[in-house]
Symmetry: D2
Subunit: 355 residues, 4 copies
């Protein structure tokens, strides 16, 4: 049981709590000879860092990554890449009142039942700061995927509350995702999403949404046929991100109402290449990529941390009230976009290296 490790050939192991000394990890199995673009890795971290817009928590950390090994004269050596990001902006005393409480829909109670002890400061290990390590690992994976196969991974916010992007990813210009704070490539929808988030924030409340992710350039033949189907691995990857409640690829849940004759993708000869005329399968058939775009959707619940008092119990079972003083995100989606991309990259690189 590799609790804090993901992958088989390309692996990421993570450590670190919200208010500990550092968040960090180890990337193992990085192919050798890849140019390691440190500025790119930092820029990916900057996409998830707190305080980047009015939509996100005001916790302000620069989250500077330091690579400690595995890189020599700018290139990966094939040896493990250790890295750390020091935690800086601790307000640990904000959390003193939470030491013996179980915050609703957080991991406080379940950690307590599993371990008998927990670091209550800022959510400890269950804090979304853990995803810092995923973004660093994902940035390294992206560098390898791009360099070795030309694979690109693009995610975007496609729904916040009941505000949705109605278009398919093919009808959007995904290069515009970073042009607004909510990370939605359709500017007018983005504006509505931002308004909704600000409204929710004003109420001290939170809201959920959906992130869509698209992988282009993946060759056919990547995947495994039985338990480790490529989409099963991508699904587990996404479901391992804090606040994720669902995953679907290709036609997903909506496709269950279709008939086979409507949903099947017919093979055609496209200028000498075998392709499918449609791509309702989402680029994966029988657990293995077929060379078409891979796309999937990830459902995020509203964040559990509210700026409202909530009734709960303490470790002794006594009724009490949570009065959070910490900072929080009213909507996790904007900052989760790079995390979704990172996990997709980590999982896909692992599979590409096997196949």
């Amino acid at each position: 049981m590799m609790r804090n490790t993901t992958g088989h050939i390309f692996t990421l192991t993570t450590f670190g709590e919200s208010h500990g000394a550092a968040i960090g990890g180890v990337v193992d199995g990085m192919p050798s000879g890849i140019d390691i673009d440190l500025a790119f890795i930092q820029s990916e971290l900057d996409r998830r860092r707190p305080g980047q817009s009015r939509l996100t928590t005001s916790r302000n950390e620069s989250d500077q990554v330091e690579l400690l090994s595995g890189v020599f004269e700018g290139k990966s050596t094939g040896c493990p890449i250790g890295f750390i990001v020091r935690n800086a902006d601790h307000h640990s005393s904000d959390y003193d009142n939470l030491r013996d409480l179980f915050r609703p829909s957080h991991a406080d109670y379940t950690y307590y039942k599993k371990y008998g002890i927990r670091d209550h400061r800022g959510g400890g290990r269950s804090s979304a700061r853990e995803t810092i390590s995923r973004v660093v690992g994902g940035a390294l994976a992206k560098l390898a995927l791009r360099s070795l196969w030309g694979i690109e991974i693009k995610a975007y916010t496609s729904q916040v509350g009941n505000i949705c992007v109605d278009k398919s990813y093919k009808d959007l210009d995904l290069s515009k995702t970073e042009s607004n704070a909510v990370r939605c490539p359709d500017d007018s929808v983005a504006k509505q999403m931002e308004d909704l988030i600000m409204e929710v924030k004003k109420d001290g409340d939170t809201i959920g949404g959906v992130i869509t992710c698209v992988i282009t350039g993946c060759p056919a033949g990547v995947g495994e046929p039985a338990f480790d189907k490529l989409h099963a691995a991508l699904g587990a990857s996404m479901l391992s991100i804090n606040a994720v409640k669902g995953f679907e690829y290709g036609c997903g849940f909506a496709g269950v109402t279709q008939r086979g004759s409507e949903q099947n993708d017919l093979f055609v000869n496209a200028d000498g290449n075998i392709r499918t005329a449609s791509n309702r399968s989402g680029g994966i058939q029988g657990g293995i990529s077929n060379g078409e775009d891979i796309y999937f959707r990830v459902a995020f619940k509203p964040v559990a941390t509210l700026l409202q008092p909530q009734p709960t119990v303490d470790v002794h079972g006594n009724a009490t009230v949570v009065n959070p003083k910490g900072r929080h995100d009213p909507c996790v989606l904007p900052r989760a976009v790079p995390v979704v991309e990172a996990m997709a990259a980590i999982t896909l690189l692992d599979y590409c290296l096997i196949s």
Copy 2:
């Protein structure tokens, strides 16, 4: 990369093709001293076997399981349990015309790209007959879960095409699931589902649906906090079943439109036990069970095998037509119910043994 193995402490390894000598597997890590009820294992297989009703394929196999090891005087010994189910009703010649074709939305093309060779008879390894091994493994897991913790796992067909069960699982009598061919505990909805399936079958077409699964009796503290969250493992498990396109637990995709204040589950003291007043979380918080019911939904696409001609290409890229002569299921849901339960049992037992 354990391609045909799932699990860490309790593992299932499977083998076998649709038209090979046998389907089988090895269960490793079965706790010792568990009563091995062979009749129960066979009855689980009978729930997934073909030919059990007019809703399923007419391929008629008795699918008798033989346990080859790991059981001594009726009890598990802790040693690996090997098992086989001989294949009997081969109509391999039905598939001769498929040797060089790629059937639409099947794994024919992707296997060919990955392996350069494939057993085309009846779908070979990608056939859903592979799930026989999962049901055997799952039956063993159920015996251990029941015996050691009193955990029960019940799945049912909750949607076929656009016919849905509207009620929550709590408002259904799940003991009625086996009372009809579609495995839906609401008899009137079941009737509509059956009618739809028969209509689709008449057209030589297929239809998708959703299976809901409920786990009761799981103690708090089962799960892992980072990449191996309990719901991530359950999700991967479900997504590894043929034809599955989506997974959601708790409020799932529908919950993304809610606010945190609506979705949070408040902790309460219920007669001295810490419980949640509602269970929108689906029994898992931070990747670890909280002692409430675990429930999730699994989306199945319409089966790709149609009894209609479909255009496609052959291995040389030449246009041709698939004229399937094999037998098939118009809707995979009824027979997939025991498979969903089996995979849930296998994954949950693995996690219970770790925690």
Copy 3:
């Protein structure tokens, strides 16, 4: 913990007890397109089967293997290969007196402490019949190693009791290994070994020895640098064989008395290829193959089953006597030679497929 599985990319999972229905296993990760020579696999099994000479147990089993999957029209498909060997020559009643005893230096007591239950018949799972599955897996691995890289693996009995082959493997004709019952390529030493074994057998006693194994044709660059060094994997492989007490490669234990200046292998340019002038390293440096022959030695203790009465205790701690009636091998070495080769092949193929 993959208790009954070995390997990462190429894996073998085994099951079966001495007096159960069958011994078998699953090979996963076999490269596709390899010619599967069934006669070769059976011939490897014949090398380890009981009753092949007067030096071995008189238990007489033909040990016929049946492959159940993963092979299509004579070639591997990349899908898992399930196989079984039915047990035939049960004399289970011979073991009735052992039900509640702990045989000295067997696994009876430790299995009892670990599992609380054991199949006492013929040693159950701890019987060396489990190595049948290893030989089948090893034969498949040999076919792939030979076909893909021209790698050959040859083991031989180099010591029985205090009778040793003094020569290096390079000064022996390893094609003569199969020419005598003890599997020692030096005929005159083989004769002395056979005499010693017959003498020991006459006393109802047993004797240990050493098997030497040589791998030729392994390219440079196979291995891993840290915990999974190639020789660490080979060592674990060998130490997992029943009765093995030691493993050494290259200069091994004898080399500890040398100085670095005596033991270092100098690099030279041999007709344009970088080679080492000597090969005291045993073909592995820093855990990775260097292109020279890989060789190692494996120590086997005398088998614990004696045809003599031995004092012991029963499960209640009462003093009693073991009076074995079963058949046994006075020296395990001759039949262990193909097992050593098999395990070396399984481990090396796994590593070749990673590198």
Copy 4:
């Protein structure tokens, strides 16, 4: 393939090169609630640090460990423990002449063949500085083993060149191991060993030896029966340490000349406990501990780095000479004693947590 990770339930992942920013790692699966004695961890590191006596390299590093996570208010939380040790005393320019050379019997050539690139400074990743991470992980494992089961692990130098300790570990006072620089509990033998090492050092040469390790307090029933036998895991652990060429447990290689009737350990009732009258098995039977002391021996070759010129070739195959200017250890044994203990602790804790 977990290249830089060892273990299943309790795992250690390591990173870092000799002249990189830091050496470090992640310990995962540490049981929660264990008192984390930082001074003890540092003292273990001090036992392996360079410059501690005239017998070791003069590279002078204080090797201070910093724990970054997984500890809260002095206790382990069950979350991963990340740690780093900054590298300080770089003399990287000492190694400039080695950039394109292959040092004899080092990993230079094999890394080059595997990765196509290498960090040549101080051996890069293949440097024994990697064992820093193992000692930290081992110290944590020792704390858990001691706290949960009272298990103790003691290693000592039992041979240097041809100077041997003749006594069994039972006839030695292992508390005296730390009383001399060579870490041999027999003071008069230690004196001879030191003299030999100083003589070898004077010649710019190196010498090998043997470390013996003893584990007391391990309960019966720890281990796995097939591929993952406890001694196979310990063997792999030891063989993964730099310069190790052999492993044996119990009677080991010497026992191959014995008869079964001499080597078998008879079970006896010792004051109500089932014990063995002798312990030639080395505390493990059938891969599972039997409650007696576990002991084994590990062979170390002479270190490959000499303070003598040695002929070799460069990456182009041209003949040249290695003139090392770096510092080195004439005998690795004294500093390897804590590494052997650490690896034994890591492996044993992993197995104790499974069983």
